[in-house]
C-alpha cells in the first residue's frame, strides 16, 4: 500500500474510523483522532480519565498524546516505542498502546469520533535555540548549579566601578564569587575585564573572593592568563541556558521575574 499524503473523515462510523486508525498505525503515519473518549493508564503509576471530548495524537514513531481542550500539557502521554492494538466494538473503538521497559499501558476508548485524520509528514527542518548573554545570566540565576553546586546568587548586573558585574554570589564555602559571562569563545579581553572587577571589589570585600569566567570555550593562550591572575573558567553553552530558561516551570519563572 502506498502512503496517502492525507486521509480525513468527519463524523465517521466507528468501524470506518477504526479502519483509518489501523491503516495509519500500520503505515506509521501521524494520526489525529478527535472525539469522545476515556483513558486508562497503568505503568509507573495508574490513572483514569473519565469520558470527555479530546484529541488523540499518535506520531509516526509511536509516541502518543491525549490533549484536553485546555492546557498546554497532555493529560496522558507515552514516548515512542509502543506497540498498538486497535479493536472496533459495536459501540466503541479501543486504541491500546503497550510499552515495555518500563511496562506501560495506555488504553483510549472512543465512543464517538468527530474527526479522524492520517497524515504523512516530512520534516527535517533544523531547530536552533539561541540565548543572549543576558539570557545566560538569567539561566544561572534560575539554576545556579549551572555554575557549580552550592552556588547562591546574590545579585546580577550589579554596578561596580568599571561597569556591571554579570552575576554575583556566594559559593558553598561562603566565598564571594564574581561571574563574567560570554556567549562566545572568551578572549583575553574578557579575562582582563573580570580581573578589573575583582580588583575593584577586593578593596571592599571582607572575605575571600573568586572570579569565574563563564563561556562556551576559551581562546588560545587565555587559560594561561587566567591562571596567572588567579581566575577560573567554567564552560557553559548558551544552548544549555536556553533550554533551562524554556523548560523551567512557567509559574516558577513568572514568580521569579515578578520579584
Amino acid at each position: 500500500m502506498q502512503k496517502d499524503k492525507l486521509t480525513v473523515l468527519t463524523n465517521p462510523k466507528l468501524t470506518e474510523a477504526a479502519a483509518v486508525i489501523e491503516k495509519a498505525l500500520a503505515q506509521r503515519e501521524t494520526l489525529i483522532v478527535a472525539g469522545k473518549c476515556s483513558v486508562r493508564y497503568t505503568g509507573r503509576a495508574k490513572s483514569t480519565l473519565e469520558p470527555g471530548e479530546r484529541m488523540l495524537i499518535i506520531k509516526e514513531d509511536g509516541s502518543l498524546l491525549v490533549h484536553r481542550p485546555v492546557g498546554y500539557e497532555p493529560v496522558n502521554w507515552q514516548p515512542s516505542g509502543s506497540v498498538f492494538h486497535v479493536q472496533a466494538k459495536a459501540d466503541a473503538i479501543e486504541v491500546h498502546a503497550v510499552r515495555q521497559k518500563p511496562r506501560e499501558n495506555v488504553r483510549v476508548t472512543f465512543t464517538n469520533v468527530f474527526m479522524v485524520s492520517a497524515l504523512s509528514l516530512t520534516d527535517s527542518g533544523e531547530f536552533a535555540l539561541y540565548a543572549s548573554e543576558q539570557d545566560m545570566h538569567r539561566a544561572i540565576l534560575l539554576k545556579p548549579s549551572l555554575l557549580e553546586e552550592g552556588f547562591k546568587p546574590i545579585s546580577y548586573e550589579k554596578k561596580v566601578e568599571p561597569g556591571f558585574v554579570d552575576v554575583y554570589g556566594v559559593d558553598k564555602e561562603g566565598r564571594l564569587v564574581v561571574v563574567e559571562v560570554k556567549r562566545k569563545t572568551a578572549g583575553k579581553d574578557a579575562v582582563l575585564q573580570l580581573a578589573r572587577y575583582i580588583d575593584a571589589i577586593k578593596v571592599k570585600a571582607d572575605r575571600e573572593l573568586r572570579g569565574v569566567l563563564v563561556a562556551p570555550s576559551l581562546g588560545k593562550d587565555v587559560q594561561r592568563l587566567l591562571v596567572t591572575l588567579g581566575l577560573e573558567f567554567k564552560a557553559l553553552d548558551p544552548k544549555k541556558c536556553a533550554k533551562v530558561l524554556k523548560r523551567t516551570e512557567v509559574t516558577k519563572l513568572e514568580k521569579f521575574f515578578e520579584q
Copy 2:
C-alpha cells in the same frame, strides 16, 4: 455567530485556511493546522525552526503547541494567555501568538496547509492519578527529597526479621533511616509495624537509627504513640508520588529500572 461542532478543510487555499483559523481563534475553539511551516520564538530565549511539515494546535484557552511528526514533546509551545494575530499574505499565513509576563512571542508561518480543523470540544471528565504503596517506594527512590533533603536510599523492600522494610537509607547526618510507607491514613498498626523493624535492626546497627512513617495522614491518637516510641511522621500524598513517577525523565527511569 454560533459555534460549529466541527469545521474541516483539506488542502485549502491559504486565504480559506486563514479564514477558518481566524474564526476558530475568535470563537475560542480548538484549532489544528497541519502543513508546511517555519517557527520563530523570542522570549526567555530565542529559537528558530526551519520549514517542515508539522501540526499546530491552539486550544480554546490559547495554549499553543507545534508538534513535529516524531517525539512526544512539542518543538515549540506556549501556555495559555496569548493574544493571537493572523495575517494572510499571498504566499503564506502568519499566526502570531504574543504573551505578556514574561514577554513571549511565537510566529508560525505556513506556506502550505494540508488540513485545517476547528473543533468545539466539551470536556469535564475527571482525571484521577493513583499510586500504589510500591509506587510510593519507587517515587522516594527516584526523588529522595520527597522524604527529606539529604536522604540517600540504600535499598528497598529489604528483608528484615518480621517482614520487609519498605525503604532503607541514610540521612544527611549519617544516621540510618527505616521508612514504612502507607498509601492511606496510617493507624496504630503501621506504627507498631515500624517499631518492630526498628527493634530488629537496632540489634545489628552500628549507628543511630531513625524510624519514619510515611503516609498521607495520621489516624486519631497515632501521633502520641509515634512520639512515645521515638518515631517520626512524614506526610506524603500518593498522588504526588504518581506525578513524580510519571514526570521523571523517561531515560532516567529506564536507566534506574535496568540496574
